[in-house]
Symmetry: C2
Subunit: 194 residues, 2 copies
DNA sequence: ACCGTATGCAAGCACTCACTTGCATTGACC
DNA sequence: GGTCAATGCAAGTGAGTGCTTGCATACGGT
């Protein structure tokens, strides 16, 4: 059924840009090139369609994992962070909208955030492994390091186009600076990057 | 004129919760206990009223500065970060909504973000001063430290009620952990907090 | 006592919203 | 050729939208 996917894609696209209330069934039908009635026959209501569209969009998010065994921390983290930042940036409009809509539509939250928690768990595991291998020092909270790095990447990705001038200038520089700062806090001895 | 402030407050409150489209002139009038016609007589249009309401809300944000001369970095930063986090948290609903509405209503952006940039500048100055005084080491990017700390606080504050389980558990612990992590990255010698 | 300003009230305008109904058309499978 | 499910089209429902008009009422300054 090509119609179904077409409708879900159009809905996600409109929702990201216009929010729940702005995403009208008329606009969805027009963008999908489908009659408005078809939308109701296939999904029953606007609400079902929107929730399903957000669910699919979130499920599409690539699962990008850190290496099982850390070797070159900086290289691996920078590469991972760049990919992760790219993914977030692609979806920044949808993410901003969801953050605002969670209050009125809490049913969106579980489906949209499941990925984030898994990613945090993966990074925590990675740092734990690195510490076990002596690649980072025995002190410093790995949770704090993980949350701060992920928050920094997240914020930069979702505010970059909408609030230029509230962060670092270039994306690559920002990613590298965040990773370096994180590793400096976890370094086994001073001046690891000096 | 009590009516004016009443209307602005009601508007800001509704806008934070329901967004631009959800904030209807009927709801505003009802919440403010004012006739809907009065709203149009005083502000001309819904758009003027909304922009003005967001402007006032942002202007109300307390300006909370770091000490001119750094002495006890950790204590000063923790105290400042806790206050800053509190302010952000109070306005988290409005902030989330604005982040989503910036795309459709870019006129909101300048008025709403002016404070954030000043705050970042203040922290950068504070770190620069601290480095000059030898309270932090000569290496490590102060911009990265500033952006990461502010992003971490910002994210924690605006996602705390809407995405529990995506960060650290208690607010106070989170704030302290973020500051510690930041200082560890900037520390003049290893193990400053050991 | 008079006047201007601010507000309320009732009604209405043209428009959009989510959603429904009834009927015609298509196309695939038997 | 006949059946059935999927889709389109035209029209309409009741509710909500931003905004306007006309008129009544209050209150303060002169």
């Amino acid at each position: 059924m090509p119609t179904r996917k077409t409708l879900l894609d159009a809905t996600a696209q409109l929702f990201a840009k216009l929010g729940w209330r702005g995403t009208t069934t008329r606009r969805i039908a027009e963008l999908a090139g489908v009659n408005e009635v078809t939308l109701f026959r296939k999904f029953g209501s606007k609400e079902s369609l929107l929730v399903e569209a957000v669910r699919c969009q979130a499920a599409d998010a690539m699962q990008d994992q850190l290496p099982v065994r850390p070797t070159d921390l900086r290289a691996e983290l920078v590469a991972w962070a760049a990919r992760h930042h790219g993914q977030l940036h692609e979806r920044s409009s949808m993410i901003r909208t969801c953050l605002a809509e969670f209050e009125e539509h809490p049913e969106l939250a579980p489906v949209a955030t499941e990925g984030a928690e898994r990613t945090m768990g993966d990074m925590l595991r990675y740092f734990g492994e690195a510490r076990r291998l002596g690649l980072i020092g025995p002190e410093g909270s790995l949770e704090a390091a993980t949350v701060m790095l992920m928050n920094a990447l997240f914020m930069d990705a979702i505010t970059r186009d909408v609030l230029p001038g509230c962060g670092l200038v270039s994306t690559d520089e920002a990613v590298a600076a965040f990773v370096d700062h994180t590793l400096r806090a976890l370094a086994p001895h001073t001046g690891i990057h000096a």
